[in-house]
């Protein structure tokens, strides 16, 4: 049945094992090392969602990620369970991205994103990223052109590896709405990138 779990989903599961209730409790006590572990665990995914959501503007995405972690540091004492924590964290990310969109009242131009590979991606493992430059570049572009309401569920699903129920919780909507938006998002991606239909993807 269906497709196998992606690397993203496996990474998300691993992260959740590392950041357990004990780590969150330590953060609530103000434990510096626990905060550090939290940042290191989530910083890439928070930054990625912000970057994809904000037109590839690395500076803006960094600012948003910083705002999110500052809010996290300030408000973490309110949380008692790890499951609530992840929902809260990604709701902070979504809200921060929406706030940026509202401030600008339009989506950022796509042009900036053309150089994303050279700026952000170049900082990670070249073998992993550049092996599929053509595909990932095209997917970046298509994701950027999605309507925000279709784009955010895709980012939460494939960057963070959230379940439909968790995405619904983060976006304050029903799982049916999440399923519908992902369905539409997947179809839009397939139609825009139909020419990649016969390309073999990494791991296949």
């Amino acid at each position: 049945m269906g497709e196998g779990a992606s690397d993203v989903e496996r990474r998300a599961v691993m992260a959740e094992k590392i950041v357990d209730d004990g780590v969150i409790a330590a953060c609530q006590r103000g434990d510096r090392e626990a905060f550090r572990l939290l940042f290191e665990t989530y910083q890439d995914r928070v930054f990625s969602i912000a970057l994809y959501s904000l037109g590839g503007d690395e500076t803006l995405a960094k600012d948003v990620a910083q705002q999110v972690f500052l809010k996290l540091m300030t408000g973490i004492k309110q949380f008692r369970r790890e499951a609530e924590f992840t929902t809260w964290l990604y709701r902070l990310v979504v809200n921060a991205c929406m706030d940026e969109h509202r401030k600008r009242r339009r989506f950022l131009p796509f042009a900036d994103f053309q150089n994303l590979d050279e700026r952000a991606v170049s900082k990670r493992d070249e073998e992993e990223v550049y092996a599929r430059t053509e595909i990932s570049g095209a997917v970046h572009g298509a994701i950027m052109r999605l309507k925000p309401k279709l784009r955010m569920p895709i980012l939460l699903k494939y960057i963070q590896g959230l379940s439909y129920e968790e995405i619904a919780d983060v976006l304050s909507c029903s799982t049916g709405t999440v399923a519908s938006r992902l369905n539409r998002g997947h179809k839009v991606l397939a139609r825009k990138l139909g020419h990649l239909r016969n390309v073999s993807f990494e791991g296949e």
Partner: protein, 388 residues
């Protein structure tokens, strides 16, 4: 011949989000339905493409900057601050500081509470000929405190709410600017429809209607009022609080709440609730019925409720007589078990602490009792708005 199409389930199928039975149903259906098979191929390609989206590395400087914040927190513990304060403490200095504080409070109180507001809001025409106090505004105008903005059947307008947001005014609408100052921006909606998008901290923007007051908790929403003063609120982002007298409701994104003049806000409900649920809820909220009919309406609400409708059932607890409350409690407890510290007896006697605990469990209370940092943000925002 092929049974019901399964288009809507295809992504959930590819993402392994369906139950075994549903997945089997989809698999069997696509074997015999060419249309759904074609769509599955399309969705599957979309899933494969999306799975190539890499997680990017955050700039190394991000962690460094966060470390700096941690250092700042660590290097200024409360104890150190207290030590610095006590070393600077002397009676004469304290007397001067205390006097200054009193003067500041008096001036602040005068500024926020007594000083008449002289500011106004910018209004732009979107369509037709919007009017301010009966005068056409042309392409744009200013709405001052006490003035009415009115649109006819062909007019629409956009109002800039100080520095904190904007409101779109639909046709056949009449609104008045009641107050605008750093700590409070208030409109009165007499009739018609308005769409508000507010990006300021919660509880700075209010809309008075004949049937309830809407308090922004950081959100976007649509508010409608008819000629009889009845209305409905639809929230699209964030939360809105509605209240009239002691009757109140908290309405999150995706939910609506009807209002009636003289009664106040009804019970909030998610817009994707069943028709039967919403109809029965309206009867409970606003219709005078005999005990039998009311009992049937409550039964319908409880039977149709999904876990998501805990929003509605939690509100019903505090606005139904004790016998109905017991039925609402039992149904809510079966959908979302009460947290530790909440008992049936306590809820039935409307123990506010228990109701709050349960509401927090239902995640309805995140924006109530704002933490200190949020209150500080609100104060800073108010100060900055005054200066801009």
């Amino acid at each position: 011949m092929f049974g019901k199409h399964v288009s809507k389930k295809l992504s959930a199928y590819c993402n392994q989000e369906l139950s075994a039975d549903e997945a089997r149903e989809v698999a069997e259906h696509v074997l015999v339905c060419q249309r759904c098979r074609r769509e599955l191929e399309e969705v599957r390609l979309g899933v494969r493409l999306a799975q190539t989206l890499p997680v990017l590395h955050a700039p190394a400087s991000l962690l460094g900057e966060m470390e700096t914040h941690l250092d700042e927190r660590a290097s200024h513990p409360a104890q150190t601050r207290r030590a610095r304060i006590s070393s600077a403490f002397t009676w004469p200095r304290m007397a001067v500081a205390f006097t200054s504080l009193l003067i500041a409070i008096a001036l602040g109180g005068w500024f926020f509470l007594v000083r008449p507001s002289t500011t106004s809001w910018e209004v732009a025409r979107i369509a037709g000929a919007p009017r301010i106090d009966s005068a056409n505004i042309g392409e744009s105008g200013r709405l001052a405190v006490g003035e009415w903005l009115e649109t006819d059947a062909n007019s629409r307008a956009l109002v800039q709410v100080g520095q904190i947001g904007r409101v779109e005014i639909d046709p056949n609408t009449r609104v008045r600017l009641v107050e605008t100052r750093p700590t409070e921006h208030r409109l009165a909606l007499a009739r018609g429809r308005m769409h508000a998008s507010i990006w300021a901290p919660p509880r700075l923007f209010f809309v008075d209607t004949p049937s309830a007051r809407a308090t922004d908790l950081g959100c976007a929403y649509t508010l409608e009022v008819d000629d009889a003063g009845a209305g409905v609120l639809h929230v699209t982002v964030g939360w809105v609080a509605l209240d009239l007298g002691s009757r109140s409701a908290i309405v999150p994104a995706g939910a609506s709440c009807a209002m009636r003049k003289g009664t106040g806000p009804g019970t909030p409900y998610y817009e994707d609730a069943t028709e039967a649920f919403r109809t029965a809820l309206a009867k409970l909220d606003f219709e005078q019925q005999d005990a039998g009919a009311r009992s049937l309406a409550l039964a319908s609400v409880l039977d149709e409720a999904r876990p998501r409708d805990a929003l509605t059932l939690w509100h019903l607890l505090s606005r139904t007589p004790v016998e109905e409350r017991a039925r609402a409690y039992d149904r809510l407890a079966s959908l979302v078990p009460p947290p530790e510290g909440v008992t049936r007896e306590g809820v039935l006697r409307l123990d506010q602490h228990m109701l709050d605990l349960w509401r927090d469990e239902l995640k309805l209370g995140w924006f109530k009792n704002d933490p200190l940092w949020r209150r500080a943000w609100r104060w800073i925002w108010g100060w900055a708005s005054e200066k801009l």
